[in-house]
Structures are given as C-alpha cells and as structure tokens.
Amino acid sequence: MRLSRVCSLAVLAAVAVASAQEPYPSRPITMVAPFPPGGIADLTARPVAAAMEKVLKNPVGVLNKTGAAGAVGMQFVATSKPDGYTLLLALSSISIIPEADKLFGRPPAFTVDQFAPIALISADPTILVVPADKPWKTAAEFVEDAKRRPGQISYSSSGVYGTLHMAMELLSHAAGIKLRHVPYAGGGPALTAVLGGHVDALASGPAVVLPHIKAGKLRALAGWGDKRVVALPEVPTFKELGFPDAEFYIWAGVFAPKGTPEPVLAKLRDALRAAVNDPDFKGAMEKIETPIVFKQGAEFARFFEADAGRLAEGVRKVGRIETK
C-alpha cells in the first residue's frame, strides 16, 4: 500500500517535472535569414515563417543577420542554443563558407555538421543576365567574347564566396574563361549594379530579375539548371550548350543547430511539410516565382551532400583571393 503510494507520488512528481518543461513551441521562434532584406533568402524566409506561424500557432520572426556572404548569420545559428527557437534559412552558401575558411587556414566560422538539416524548401537554378544594351545575344557569344578578352568582362555578386559568386566561378571553370569579379554587399546591391550597367553580368535567381527581363532592361542568356526555367522557356541551360559542369541551384533549406532534440526536429519537419502545402505559402512563392521543392530527412541529407561536394570543389578551384 505504502509502496503504491510512493509510486503514485513519484508519478505525480514526474508529471509535474514534465509539465514544467515547456511544450515546444511556447515562445517566439526566430528564423535567421543571413542576407539583407529584399534578397532571395529574405524573400523565402518571410513566407516560410508566416506559414509556420500559422501551423505552429506561435510567432515566427525573421531576423536578417547579414555579413560576409551569410557567414555571420550562419555562425550565429550554429552557436545558438539547440532548443528549436533559433532556426536558419540557409542558401547553398552554407556549404561554401566552411570550405573558404579552410582555404584561408583559419578556424572555421562554423562547420556544416554543426547543423541539423530539417527540410529543403525550394531549389531554383541561377540564370545569367546581362544589361539589355550589352552586345551578347546568346550565352555562346558571351563565352566566346570572354575567351577573346580574358578578365575583361565583369560581374557583380552578393559577396565573396557567396552563391552568386560560386555560380559564375563554376561557369568560368566549365567554359574555361576568366571573368572579373566585383563583390557587393548582398543580392540587392548586386542587382542594382547590373541594372546600372556598372558590371557586365550577374548570375541571379530568376525571381529577382524576372520583372527586369520582362521590362527589357536585362537579357537572360542561359540557366544553370538541368531543366529550363518555367517562366523563361526560351532561355537554354548551360547543359544544353555543352557545359555540363555549370550546374548550380540557389536552394533554400531550413536548419536547426545540431543537438536540437529529435521531438522538436520532428515537430519542425511536420510544421514545414504543412507549411509548404499551405495555400498562402504556395501563393506567396508563386508571387515571387520560386518553385517549391520539398525534401526532408534522408532525401534532403543526400541532396545537401551532393551539392556541398560540388561547391567545395568549386571553392578549391577558385582558391584564395589574394591581392597581388
């Protein structure tokens, strides 16, 4: 009798402890977008956060932690408490930055295995755009001219070793050309630079440049995907043009710091699956013309690894940016 009394007390105590542990989520979640407002990461993070907010019935805020092609925001999340309240909406650059740190021989800002991948949200091939008043009508003309004048054709990027930089470097390598790189602090300024004609080219996600292509300010030459971009059916891929190594996607995926408890991760995976099927979210992604590509768990892990391998190779090929 007494024993059972003790038992029930113990059970009571255990219940009390469990209920003292807050159910997840019980306070606002921060989704870190490591790029400035108006860039691709930001434009994806905001609807994702909004849809998650609906599913979880809990505020999800987007925080733009910007700097050095996203390293600041990613490091911030990598070192955050793994409690599911700090998430990262990362672009492909998440696997570039540790590689670049290795290249400089400095302690890495973070490593890829500091993150637990949750789900892939979207994957969009970059496309090559040039100001409409530049002479090149096709990608072939562009590559040919770049071969004739090595290092003379310039392009803007969202930052050194950033996604937009890597896309161009993969192309340069695949086509055996040399271009001149002018880094900017984010995708917005990089777009402004190509619109103003201060650089000759930009690799960019289709969504951001589409209105400018439609308005006749920019011309799309080719895409980095294995298929053509739906919104631009007349623009070929580099694969079709005979540069199979020029394959690059700006993908957006959600990560948590490594060590986040599995139940929380599972809850987040479910929330994200529900979020990408949310009609508002679909509408939002349609509005920014970004195709939803949802992968989670092992599937996302495989995709992530393949992509990281390609990019690590790319970084090593670029090498260290030295000022001679």
Binding site: P28, T30, P59, G61, E322, T323, K324
Partner: protein
C-alpha cells in the same frame, strides 16, 4: 597633468596596434588594396596626428589642469550599475533586471524607498509593454517567463 600628452600617447598606442594588425592582414597595393590597407593607413594617420598632439602638448601643461574638478563618484556607480544590468540581462530576464537597475539608481539619487519601488515597477512594466507586447522584440525572458 598634461592631458594632451597622456591622451596623445594613448592614441599612439592604439594607432600602432591598428597598423600592426593591418600589416598582418594583406596590405595589397595602391591599385589593389587588400584587407589590411585601410586599417594600416588609418593607423598611420592616427599615429602621426597623435605624435603632433604629444609634441604640441608640451607647451601648455599649465593650461591643461586649469579646469575645475568637483566630481562625485556617481558616474562610476552608474557605469557599475550598467555593467550589472548587462551581465544579469540574459539570466534574470529584462523585466526583473530593469526593475533592479531602476531601483538602485533611484535609491542612489536618494529618492524614498516607496517612491523608488513604485517608479521602478512602473518603468519595468513600461519596458514590458513597449518591447514585448507591442514591438514583439526578442528581449531575453527570465526564469519566470518574462
């Protein structure tokens, strides 16, 4: 005390530090300035200016100390309170720390206990309403959930 001498020497140390750090980054050259270019030359400029400051301070030592100095130690206490605020902010939560901070300073200013407690409470509440309820910023919550 030749104040410009002391401050000049201090800036000189800062300048040397910056220039050395700049050198250890890549300087590059005038046509391709590297990561260390601006820090190095910024340090050099600050160094030169502080040398001028040190040299020119020698003639006016007398003028330096002429300022009246009726000082209390209050700024130190205030800085200490601010330090405490910062150190405790992420453990106690912002509402509690704001209350303690206000209470300490109000008492330092010799306001009555009753008045201090009430005012500090109002201040802490205002901070909660403004930053938490209204702006929904993510100030660190305390162990009590606020």
């Amino acid at each position: 005390m030749p104040r410009d001498l002391v401050s000049g020497l201090f800036w000189l140390a800062v300048a040397i530090f910056a220039a050395v750090q700049g050198l250890s980054l890549k300087l590059g050259n005038l046509n391709r300035p590297g990561a260390g270019f601006f820090p190095f030359w910024g340090g050099v400029v600050l160094g030169l200016l502080s040398i001028v400051l040190v040299v020119s301070s020698r003639g006016r030592d007398a003028a330096g100390g002429s300022r009246a100095r009726s000082e209390s130690s209050k700024p130190l206490v205030v800085v200490g309170a601010l330090l405490g605020y910062l150190l405790l902010l992420e453990t106690l939560g912002f509402v509690a720390v704001t209350f303690l901070f206000l209470l300490l300073l109000f008492r330092l200013e010799r306001l009555t206990w009753a008045f201090s407690v009430v005012s500090a409470g109002v201040g802490a509440l205002a901070s909660y309403v403004l930053f938490q309820l209204w702006l929904k910023t993510q100030l660190p919550p305390g162990p009590f959930g606020f």
